[in-house]
């Protein structure tokens, strides 16, 4: 898979509903400077910049990489802009890694962001192409029927989604960057919140956040500090309109996982992956992805969630950071998963560190659950 690549710096902003104190440029620069500081480097050490974000309509700025080149120290360098829907944060990391694995550069700055307060994401997601009908339902309205179908197939009881919502918010209380910090969160509180798109309640969905995440990626010869080594990378896409497409457990997700596991030598993900940061914007997606990613057999994912296996102190912790349910700057959400996976294997995750984590999965999905990006990072050199 080309040359070795490592994560040597991670930077995040504090995720929150409105960052009125910074422009978009200020936001991405904050994350970038923290990542550089973590790596002990400065902009002059960077060979290229890769930036990712979800649709331009979210902030109303077209091709914002043009405007952000100055703030990210990219002038005089190559700069790329990635956009693969909700999976974009993950894809951005993979394009950055690709530049190193392909032997083109030694050090790449990867940044992803969303400043949702500058616009209205649900509106931006509801406008339709001039030649297709719009449901005007936003993301929750699109995914709710797929969740109901999962419940029907697996026979999962109604409270599983609530368990995930509580677990991830408890983890978020340990993460200094997390957006939603809800002291005293419990099942009863989640169940008391309004139903938005049946079966998704208010506290079973992700917030709208402002925020950015950045990473410094390095070739083997230029590693500084504590590296998280990239053991595998994969992207997969499938068409949104295909009769017979399984939107509950998409084939692209299964194929992407199979590819990244085979590169990293993983045959039993539940046992070999110490911690997973997965894209769970609605709580029910945890049991669904447990099955899609091979951590549980078909129809068994909810049982793993119910057993507490995915809690911070469980045997297969998922979203120790609090996940997308606790912070969702959409374009950055995938990159945060990839960055948190790296922090875990570097042993730098602070209070939400999983003891002895040596191998971690970063996962992101997007579109109509049709775009997937994943990587496996490890403490050891591959």
């Amino acid at each position: 898979m080309g040359n070795r690549c490592a994560v040597i710096g991670v930077g995040q902003t504090h995720y929150t509903t409105k960052r009125r104190d910074v422009s978009i440029a200020g936001l991405v620069r904050e994350a970038a400077l923290r990542a550089l500081e973590d790596a002990g480097l400065s902009f002059k050490d960077i060979d290229a910049v890769v930036i990712g974000k979800a649709p331009d309509l979210f902030e109303g700025v077209m091709m914002p990489e043009s405007y952000l080149a100055d703030a990210l120290g990219a002038a005089g360098k190559p700069m790329m802009r990635v956009h693969t829907a909700g999976s974009v944060g993950g894809s951005t990391a993979l394009v950055g890694a690709s530049l190193i694995q392909g032997g083109v550069h030694d050090r790449v700055l990867v940044v992803a962001f969303e400043k949702q307060s500058e616009s209205n994401a649900t509106w931006a997601l509801s406008t339709h192409l001039p030649f297709s009908a719009s449901l005007v339902v936003g993301a929750g309205g699109y995914f709710a029927p797929h969740i109901r179908e999962y419940m029907r197939r697996s026979g999962a009881p109604d409270h599983i989604g609530t368990l995930v919502a509580v677990k991830d918010r408890l983890n978020a209380l340990k993460n200094p960057y997390a957006h939603l910090k809800i002291p005293g969160i419990d099942q009863k509180m989640v169940e008391s919140t309004p139903m938005l798109w049946e079966p998704i309640r208010y506290l079973e969905t992700c917030p709208s956040s402002d925020g950015a995440c950045a990473m410094v990626l390095s070739s083997e010869s230029k590693v500084t500090g504590t590296p998280a080594w990239v053991h595998g990378t994969a992207m997969r896409s499938e068409p949104i309109f295909r009769a017979g497409r399984d939107t509950v457990s998409p084939q692209a997700g299964k194929d992407c996982a199979a590819d990244v596991y085979s590169q990293a030598g993983i045959t039993d993900p539940r046992r070999q992956i110490d911690v997973a940061e997965t894209y769970v914007p609605f709580s029910w997606y945890e049991p669904m992805w447990l099955e899609n990613l091979g951590f549980a057999a078909d129809g068994e994912g909810w049982k793993l969630t119910e057993s507490g296996a995915t809690a911070l102190d469980g045997d297969t912790p998922w979203n120790a950071s609090g996940g997308v349910l606790s912070s969702n700057p959409i374009g950055a959400s995938g990159l945060i998963r990839f960055a948190e996976a790296a922090l875990q294997v570097r042993g730098m995750a602070g209070e939400h560190q999983v003891d002895g984590a040596r191998t971690a999965l970063g996962h992101a999905y997007g579109g109509g659950a049709q775009f997937f990006a994943m990587w496996i990072v490890g403490r050891e050199r591959p």
């Binding site: 898979m1 080309g2 422009s23 440029a25 649709p55 331009d56 309509l57 979210f58 902030e59 109303g60 700025v61 077209m62 091709m63 990489e65 043009s66 405007y67 080149a69 100055d70 990219a74 002038a75 005089g76 360098k77 190559p78 700069m79 790329m80 802009r81 990635v82 956009h83 693969t84 829907a85 894809s91 993979l94 394009v95 690709s98 530049l99 694995q101 392909g102 032997g103 997601l125 406008t127 339709h128 192409l129 001039p130 297709s132 994969a234 992207m235 997969r236 896409s237 499938e238 068409p239 949104i240 309109f241 295909r242 998409p250 194929d255 992407c256 590819d259 579109g367 109509g368 049709q370």
Partner: protein, 339 residues
């Protein structure tokens, strides 16, 4: 670096109006064409370039994927940039050594909106965009900075339109006449036409390139550079990023028979010719260039495709394809192709 070549190129017969096709319908024929030319049905990697604001809705590329028949699922990525940068991403991916083929495409329908106004929101949203500086205004600022001879600009437009008329894929535009200004010093005929279109390219690495095509166009150098966004921070009469990218790609290491430049306005051709240090004997934009067809988001990829086509057809041995992005040539990508 691994040997990677362009082995097939296809483009739509571009139109200056909405011909009633959806974006997937625009893309499908060019994808079919490059599949047929190479005999490949599956590719190791697929990457595309497009811009949501042209359609005025998010996720243009989501429905575009339906045109590919991406089943079983494919390894795929997308850049919100001209398809030329999708080609760059695919070239990088092929350098890993584990896959040998890639499909690249770009598409855009600028007939759906008012491109001149849409491009305004590409600018810094706090300081520049509110000024209402539109595409023609900032191009005119650069034209003023170049201070080119009017006769030279007219000749570039006349030559581009004539070449475009001879190119079945470009638009049929008459010889420029009249003195009407769009925004001084740019005349209306200096403005690139609104164009809908798409293009696709197949890349192949190693032995596969020679198996798929008798005359592969090998990518001997490819590089891109961005400059500061703020127009006041640049010398608008030159292009430092184009010059840097050209040096990194090795344009000057040999004679250039044909250069396809992403020059949307005649003064941009002058800037780019100087930045790339192209000698007088290099034939510039024999396809007619963006002044004869400018499907935004595919225009740069088409330049690389047209430069490759000369080699694929056996008519040239060393050519250059160039793509640009951002206001006033802020971002430039240069590709050197050899037989």
């Amino acid at each position: 670096m691994r040997d990677v070549a362009i082995v097939a190129f296809a483009q739509t017969r571009h139109t200056d109006h909405d011909a009633g096709q959806t974006e997937p319908e625009l893309i499908l024929p060019v994808i079919d064409e490059v599949k047929e030319r190479t005999g490949l049905k599956r590719f190791g990697f697929t990457c595309s370039g497009s811009c949501d604001y042209l359609a005025g809705a998010p996720f243009s590329f989501v429905s575009a994927l339906d045109a590919l028949g991406a089943w079983p699922p494919i390894s795929e990525s997308h850049v919100e940039m001209d398809g030329a940068w999708a080609l760059y991403e695919a070239w990088v991916r092929l350098q890993h050594g584990d896959i040998d083929s890639a499909l690249v495409y770009g598409f855009g329908k600028s007939s759906l909106g008012d491109l001149n106004t849409i491009m305004t929101i590409q600018l810094d949203p706090y300081y520049l965009a509110p000024l209402g500086l539109d595409l023609l205004s900032y191009a005119a600022l650069q034209a003023g900075a170049v201070g080119a001879d009017r006769k030279e600009l007219d000749e570039i437009v006349r030559r581009s339109r004539a070449d475009g008329r001879a190119n079945p894929y470009a638009l049929d535009l008459p010889d420029p006449d009249g003195e009407d200004f769009a925004v001084q010093p740019l005349k209306k005929t200096d403005v690139p036409p609104i164009t809908d279109g798409a293009a696709a390219i197949v890349l192949a690495a190693g032995d596969l390139a020679r198996e798929l095509c008798p005359n592969p166009a090998y990518i001997r150098g490819i590089a891109h550079r961005i400059e500061p966004h703020y127009l006041g921070m640049r010398d608008l009469s030159t292009s430092a990023s184009a010059a840097d990218a050209a040096r990194a790609a090795g344009v000057g290491k040999g004679p250039v028979e044909v250069a396809e430049l992403h020059a949307q306005f005649p003064h941009e051709e002058i800037i780019l010719r100087r930045a790339l240090e192209l000698p007088g004997e290099t034939v510039i934009n024999p396809s007619g260039g963006p002044l004869a067809a400018n499907p935004v988001m595919a225009t740069g990829l088409i330049r690389i495709g047209e430069a490759a086509r000369r080699i694929l057809d056996g008519d040239a041995s060393r050519t250059v394809g160039h793509a640009a992005g951002g206001p006033c040539l802020q971002h430039n990508l240069v590709t050197v192709l050899e037989a």
